[in-house]
Symmetry: C2
DNA sequence: TGTCTCGTTGAGACCAAGTATCATGTCTGA
DNA sequence: TCAGACATGATACTTGGTCTCAACGAGACA
Protein backbone atom coordinates (compact mmCIF):
# COMPACT_ATOMS: atom_id res chain seq x y z
CA UNK A 1 0.00 0.00 0.00
CA UNK A 2 1.38 3.43 -0.90
CA UNK A 3 1.98 6.12 1.67
CA UNK A 4 -0.69 8.23 0.03
CA UNK A 5 -3.29 5.52 0.49
CA UNK A 6 -2.09 4.96 4.02
CA UNK A 7 -2.62 8.58 4.94
CA UNK A 8 -5.97 8.66 3.12
CA UNK A 9 -7.17 5.71 5.15
CA UNK A 10 -6.03 7.40 8.36
CA UNK A 11 -8.02 10.49 7.43
CA UNK A 12 -11.12 8.52 6.51
CA UNK A 13 -10.90 6.53 9.73
CA UNK A 14 -11.09 9.83 11.62
CA UNK A 15 -14.10 11.00 9.66
CA UNK A 16 -12.31 13.38 7.30
CA UNK A 17 -13.14 13.30 3.61
CA UNK A 18 -10.36 12.54 1.18
CA UNK A 19 -11.00 15.12 -1.53
CA UNK A 20 -8.93 15.68 -4.69
CA UNK A 21 -7.40 18.82 -3.17
CA UNK A 22 -6.36 16.97 -0.05
CA UNK A 23 -4.92 14.10 -2.11
CA UNK A 24 -2.91 16.63 -4.13
CA UNK A 25 -1.50 18.28 -1.00
CA UNK A 26 -0.71 14.94 0.65
CA UNK A 27 0.99 13.67 -2.50
CA UNK A 28 3.06 16.86 -2.76
CA UNK A 29 4.07 16.55 0.89
CA UNK A 30 5.04 12.89 0.56
CA UNK A 31 7.15 13.67 -2.52
CA UNK A 32 9.42 15.94 -0.48
CA UNK A 33 12.57 14.03 0.31
CA UNK A 34 13.75 16.46 2.99
CA UNK A 35 12.18 19.31 4.92
CA UNK A 36 9.92 21.77 3.16
CA UNK A 37 8.02 24.98 3.70
CA UNK A 38 4.31 25.52 3.06
CA UNK A 39 5.41 27.56 0.07
CA UNK A 40 7.13 24.54 -1.50
CA UNK A 41 3.88 22.60 -1.29
CA UNK A 42 1.91 25.54 -2.69
CA UNK A 43 4.15 25.56 -5.75
CA UNK A 44 3.74 21.83 -6.27
CA UNK A 45 -0.04 21.84 -6.26
CA UNK A 46 -1.16 24.96 -8.03
CA UNK A 47 -4.77 23.79 -8.11
CA UNK A 48 -5.27 23.91 -4.36
CA UNK A 49 -5.80 27.23 -2.63
CA UNK A 50 -3.48 28.72 -0.06
CA UNK A 51 -5.92 28.18 2.78
CA UNK A 52 -6.48 24.56 1.79
CA UNK A 53 -2.75 23.85 1.76
CA UNK A 54 -2.33 25.42 5.20
CA UNK A 55 -5.36 23.55 6.51
CA UNK A 56 -4.21 20.22 5.14
CA UNK A 57 -0.68 20.58 6.46
CA UNK A 58 -2.05 21.44 9.89
CA UNK A 59 -4.24 18.36 9.65
CA UNK A 60 -1.23 16.22 8.74
CA UNK A 61 0.70 17.72 11.64
CA UNK A 62 -2.11 16.86 14.05
CA UNK A 63 -2.17 13.34 12.62
CA UNK A 64 1.57 12.97 13.10
CA UNK A 65 2.19 12.45 9.38
CA UNK A 66 4.45 15.48 9.29
CA UNK A 67 6.34 17.19 12.07
CA UNK A 68 7.38 20.79 12.49
CA UNK A 69 11.01 21.77 12.27
CA UNK A 70 12.52 25.02 13.51
CA UNK A 71 15.53 25.99 11.42
CA UNK A 72 18.54 27.82 12.84
CA UNK A 73 17.39 31.08 11.22
CA UNK A 74 14.05 30.83 13.05
CA UNK A 75 11.92 29.84 10.07
CA UNK A 76 9.41 27.03 10.44
CA UNK A 77 9.61 24.09 8.07
CA UNK A 78 7.91 20.70 7.95
CA UNK A 79 9.15 17.18 7.43
CA UNK A 80 7.50 13.83 6.77
CA UNK A 81 7.61 11.97 10.02
CA UNK A 82 8.27 8.23 10.10
CA UNK A 83 7.94 7.87 13.85
CA UNK A 84 6.32 9.39 16.88
CA UNK A 85 7.91 12.02 19.09
CA UNK A 86 11.53 12.68 18.11
CA UNK A 87 14.02 15.49 17.56
CA UNK A 88 16.12 16.81 14.72
CA UNK A 89 19.76 17.39 14.01
CA UNK A 90 19.99 20.06 11.31
CA UNK A 91 23.13 20.64 9.28
CA UNK A 92 23.58 24.40 9.02
CA UNK A 93 25.78 24.03 5.93
CA UNK A 94 23.86 21.70 3.60
CA UNK A 95 20.50 21.85 5.34
CA UNK A 96 19.94 18.12 5.63
CA UNK A 97 18.13 16.87 8.67
CA UNK A 98 18.61 13.71 10.69
CA UNK A 99 15.96 12.38 13.00
CA UNK A 100 17.27 11.37 16.40
CA UNK A 101 16.33 7.79 17.11
CA UNK A 102 14.38 8.55 20.23
CA UNK A 103 13.54 11.43 22.48
CA UNK A 104 16.91 12.01 24.05
CA UNK A 105 15.84 14.08 26.99
CA UNK A 106 13.18 12.04 28.75
CA UNK A 107 15.57 11.37 31.64
CA UNK A 108 16.43 15.03 31.84
CA UNK A 109 12.75 15.93 31.99
CA UNK A 110 12.19 13.61 34.93
CA UNK A 111 15.11 15.22 36.73
CA UNK A 112 13.85 18.74 36.06
CA UNK A 113 10.35 17.75 37.03
CA UNK A 114 11.65 16.63 40.44
CA UNK A 115 13.99 19.59 40.89
CA UNK A 116 11.54 22.37 40.01
CA UNK A 117 8.17 20.84 40.89
CA UNK A 118 6.91 21.27 37.33
CA UNK A 119 4.73 18.70 35.64
CA UNK A 120 6.41 18.76 32.26
CA UNK A 121 3.91 18.38 29.42
CA UNK A 122 5.98 19.08 26.36
CA UNK A 123 9.21 20.39 25.02
CA UNK A 124 10.88 21.61 21.90
CA UNK A 125 14.43 20.61 21.05
CA UNK A 126 16.36 21.21 17.85
CA UNK A 127 20.09 20.77 17.40
CA UNK A 128 22.18 22.61 14.82
CA UNK A 129 25.61 21.70 13.56
CA UNK A 130 27.68 20.45 10.67
CA UNK A 131 27.32 16.94 9.35
CA UNK A 132 30.40 14.80 8.76
CA UNK A 133 30.18 15.28 4.96
CA UNK A 134 30.24 19.07 5.26
CA UNK A 135 33.04 18.93 7.78
CA UNK A 136 35.24 16.81 5.55
CA UNK A 137 34.42 19.06 2.56
CA UNK A 138 35.66 22.08 4.53
CA UNK A 139 38.73 20.17 5.69
CA UNK A 140 39.53 19.17 2.07
CA UNK A 141 39.18 22.78 0.91
CA UNK A 142 41.51 24.01 3.63
CA UNK A 143 44.22 21.66 2.38
CA UNK B 1 24.95 51.16 39.21
CA UNK B 2 21.52 50.59 37.71
CA UNK B 3 20.86 47.98 35.05
CA UNK B 4 20.03 50.75 32.61
CA UNK B 5 23.44 52.35 33.10
CA UNK B 6 25.08 48.98 32.88
CA UNK B 7 23.53 48.26 29.51
CA UNK B 8 24.28 51.80 28.32
CA UNK B 9 27.94 51.33 29.17
CA UNK B 10 27.98 48.01 27.34
CA UNK B 11 26.54 49.69 24.25
CA UNK B 12 28.99 52.57 24.40
CA UNK B 13 31.90 50.19 24.85
CA UNK B 14 30.91 48.55 21.57
CA UNK B 15 30.71 51.88 19.78
CA UNK B 16 26.93 52.27 19.79
CA UNK B 17 25.41 55.60 20.71
CA UNK B 18 23.10 55.73 23.69
CA UNK B 19 20.31 57.93 22.36
CA UNK B 20 17.10 58.93 24.21
CA UNK B 21 15.10 56.47 22.10
CA UNK B 22 17.44 53.62 22.93
CA UNK B 23 17.38 54.54 26.62
CA UNK B 24 13.57 54.51 26.53
CA UNK B 25 13.47 51.08 24.90
CA UNK B 26 16.09 49.65 27.25
CA UNK B 27 14.27 51.07 30.29
CA UNK B 28 10.97 49.61 29.07
CA UNK B 29 12.62 46.23 28.53
CA UNK B 30 14.27 46.22 31.95
CA UNK B 31 10.96 47.13 33.61
CA UNK B 32 9.39 43.88 32.38
CA UNK B 33 9.34 41.46 35.25
CA UNK B 34 8.60 38.44 33.09
CA UNK B 35 8.68 37.69 29.37
CA UNK B 36 7.34 40.23 26.91
CA UNK B 37 6.60 40.74 23.25
CA UNK B 38 7.90 43.57 21.07
CA UNK B 39 4.37 44.94 21.19
CA UNK B 40 4.53 45.29 24.99
CA UNK B 41 7.64 47.42 24.63
CA UNK B 42 6.05 49.45 21.85
CA UNK B 43 3.15 50.31 24.16
CA UNK B 44 5.48 51.35 26.96
CA UNK B 45 7.53 53.79 24.93
CA UNK B 46 5.14 55.57 22.60
CA UNK B 47 7.80 58.04 21.55
CA UNK B 48 10.03 55.51 19.83
CA UNK B 49 9.08 54.23 16.40
CA UNK B 50 8.32 50.62 15.58
CA UNK B 51 11.52 50.12 13.63
CA UNK B 52 13.62 51.59 16.43
CA UNK B 53 12.06 49.27 18.99
CA UNK B 54 12.70 46.25 16.78
CA UNK B 55 16.25 47.41 16.07
CA UNK B 56 17.02 48.03 19.73
CA UNK B 57 15.61 44.71 20.88
CA UNK B 58 17.66 42.91 18.25
CA UNK B 59 20.69 44.80 19.51
CA UNK B 60 19.95 43.77 23.08
CA UNK B 61 19.52 40.17 21.94
CA UNK B 62 22.89 40.25 20.20
CA UNK B 63 24.41 41.71 23.35
CA UNK B 64 22.90 38.96 25.48
CA UNK B 65 20.88 41.43 27.55
CA UNK B 66 17.65 39.76 26.51
CA UNK B 67 17.07 36.25 25.23
CA UNK B 68 14.43 34.90 22.92
CA UNK B 69 11.73 32.61 24.25
CA UNK B 70 9.49 30.37 22.17
CA UNK B 71 6.10 29.95 23.83
CA UNK B 72 4.07 26.75 23.59
CA UNK B 73 1.72 28.39 21.07
CA UNK B 74 4.66 29.13 18.79
CA UNK B 75 4.85 32.88 19.42
CA UNK B 76 8.22 34.49 20.04
CA UNK B 77 8.70 36.47 23.23
CA UNK B 78 11.73 38.00 24.90
CA UNK B 79 13.03 37.96 28.43
CA UNK B 80 15.70 39.85 30.32
CA UNK B 81 18.62 37.51 30.62
CA UNK B 82 20.70 37.43 33.80
CA UNK B 83 23.14 34.83 32.56
CA UNK B 84 24.72 33.39 29.46
CA UNK B 85 23.38 30.40 27.59
CA UNK B 86 20.47 28.79 29.42
CA UNK B 87 17.03 27.32 28.84
CA UNK B 88 13.47 28.01 29.96
CA UNK B 89 10.77 26.15 31.74
CA UNK B 90 7.45 27.78 30.79
CA UNK B 91 4.25 27.26 32.77
CA UNK B 92 1.47 26.77 30.22
CA UNK B 93 -1.16 27.74 32.80
CA UNK B 94 0.08 31.01 34.34
CA UNK B 95 2.78 31.81 31.78
CA UNK B 96 5.62 32.34 34.22
CA UNK B 97 9.06 31.31 33.11
CA UNK B 98 11.92 29.82 35.08
CA UNK B 99 15.45 29.87 33.84
CA UNK B 100 17.25 26.57 34.14
CA UNK B 101 20.42 27.00 36.12
CA UNK B 102 22.72 25.81 33.38
CA UNK B 103 22.56 24.30 29.98
CA UNK B 104 21.22 20.89 30.84
CA UNK B 105 22.09 19.10 27.66
CA UNK B 106 25.80 19.66 27.16
CA UNK B 107 26.49 15.99 27.97
CA UNK B 108 23.79 14.93 25.56
CA UNK B 109 25.32 17.06 22.84
CA UNK B 110 28.70 15.40 23.28
CA UNK B 111 27.06 11.98 23.01
CA UNK B 112 25.16 12.94 19.86
CA UNK B 113 28.21 14.54 18.38
CA UNK B 114 30.07 11.22 18.76
CA UNK B 115 27.16 9.08 17.61
CA UNK B 116 26.25 11.00 14.46
CA UNK B 117 29.53 12.64 13.50
CA UNK B 118 28.02 16.11 13.71
CA UNK B 119 29.93 19.07 15.06
CA UNK B 120 27.13 20.57 17.10
CA UNK B 121 27.18 24.36 17.04
CA UNK B 122 23.95 25.31 18.69
CA UNK B 123 20.60 24.13 19.91
CA UNK B 124 17.21 25.33 20.96
CA UNK B 125 15.45 23.82 23.96
CA UNK B 126 12.26 24.98 25.65
CA UNK B 127 10.26 23.00 28.18
CA UNK B 128 6.55 23.44 28.81
CA UNK B 129 4.58 22.30 31.82
CA UNK B 130 2.67 23.32 34.89
CA UNK B 131 4.37 24.93 37.84
CA UNK B 132 3.74 23.65 41.35
CA UNK B 133 1.47 26.63 42.19
CA UNK B 134 -0.81 25.94 39.22
CA UNK B 135 -0.85 22.25 39.97
CA UNK B 136 -1.93 22.78 43.57
CA UNK B 137 -4.56 25.33 42.44
CA UNK B 138 -6.06 22.71 40.11
CA UNK B 139 -5.90 20.08 42.84
CA UNK B 140 -7.69 22.43 45.28
CA UNK B 141 -10.42 23.15 42.73
CA UNK B 142 -10.99 19.45 42.11
CA UNK B 143 -11.67 18.92 45.82
C1' DT C 1 -35.69 12.53 -7.44
C1' DG C 2 -35.54 16.45 -4.54
C1' DT C 3 -33.75 18.62 -0.66
C1' DC C 4 -31.32 19.16 3.48
C1' DT C 5 -27.15 19.08 6.14
C1' DC C 6 -22.59 19.65 6.72
C1' DG C 7 -17.74 19.22 5.55
C1' DT C 8 -14.78 21.25 2.27
C1' DT C 9 -13.28 24.45 -1.10
C1' DG C 10 -10.77 28.69 -3.24
C1' DA C 11 -10.49 33.55 -3.24
C1' DG C 12 -9.29 37.09 -0.99
C1' DA C 13 -9.32 40.06 3.09
C1' DC C 14 -7.02 40.39 7.09
C1' DC C 15 -3.48 40.08 10.80
C1' DA C 16 0.95 39.95 13.29
C1' DA C 17 5.73 40.17 13.27
C1' DG C 18 9.46 41.77 11.28
C1' DT C 19 12.41 44.19 7.57
C1' DA C 20 13.64 47.76 4.08
C1' DT C 21 13.71 52.32 2.59
C1' DC C 22 14.29 57.02 2.97
C1' DA C 23 14.37 61.75 4.27
C1' DT C 24 15.71 63.97 8.31
C1' DG C 25 18.11 64.84 12.58
C1' DT C 26 22.18 64.46 15.57
C1' DC C 27 26.72 63.47 16.93
C1' DT C 28 31.71 63.38 16.35
C1' DG C 29 36.15 64.15 14.87
C1' DA C 30 39.05 66.60 11.75
C1' DT D 1 32.49 74.68 10.73
C1' DC D 2 31.54 70.88 8.12
C1' DA D 3 31.43 66.25 6.18
C1' DG D 4 30.37 61.75 7.15
C1' DA D 5 28.58 58.26 10.03
C1' DC D 6 25.08 56.87 12.88
C1' DA D 7 20.34 56.87 14.46
C1' DT D 8 15.68 58.18 13.95
C1' DG D 9 10.45 57.77 12.85
C1' DA D 10 7.16 57.07 9.30
C1' DT D 11 5.70 54.10 6.30
C1' DA D 12 5.66 50.64 2.72
C1' DC D 13 6.55 46.09 2.13
C1' DT D 14 7.21 40.99 3.01
C1' DT D 15 6.27 36.72 5.07
C1' DG D 16 3.64 33.31 7.15
C1' DG D 17 -0.50 32.31 8.65
C1' DT D 18 -5.74 32.74 9.87
C1' DC D 19 -10.56 34.15 9.02
C1' DT D 20 -14.59 34.76 6.34
C1' DC D 21 -17.77 33.66 3.05
C1' DA D 22 -20.30 32.12 -0.85
C1' DA D 23 -20.30 28.05 -3.53
C1' DC D 24 -19.76 23.19 -4.19
C1' DG D 25 -20.61 18.38 -3.51
C1' DA D 26 -21.31 13.94 -1.05
C1' DG D 27 -24.30 11.44 1.73
C1' DA D 28 -28.68 10.79 4.32
C1' DC D 29 -33.35 10.68 4.13
C1' DA D 30 -38.19 11.27 2.66
Amino acid sequence: MSDLENVSLKLEALGYRVTPSRRAVIAAVLQQSDHFSVDDVLHRCRGAGRATVFRTIRLLTDLGVVCRLLLADGSLHYRVSQRGHHHHLVCTACGTVRDLDQCAISDLMRELSDAYGYEIEGHWLELYGRCSACRSAVAAEAR
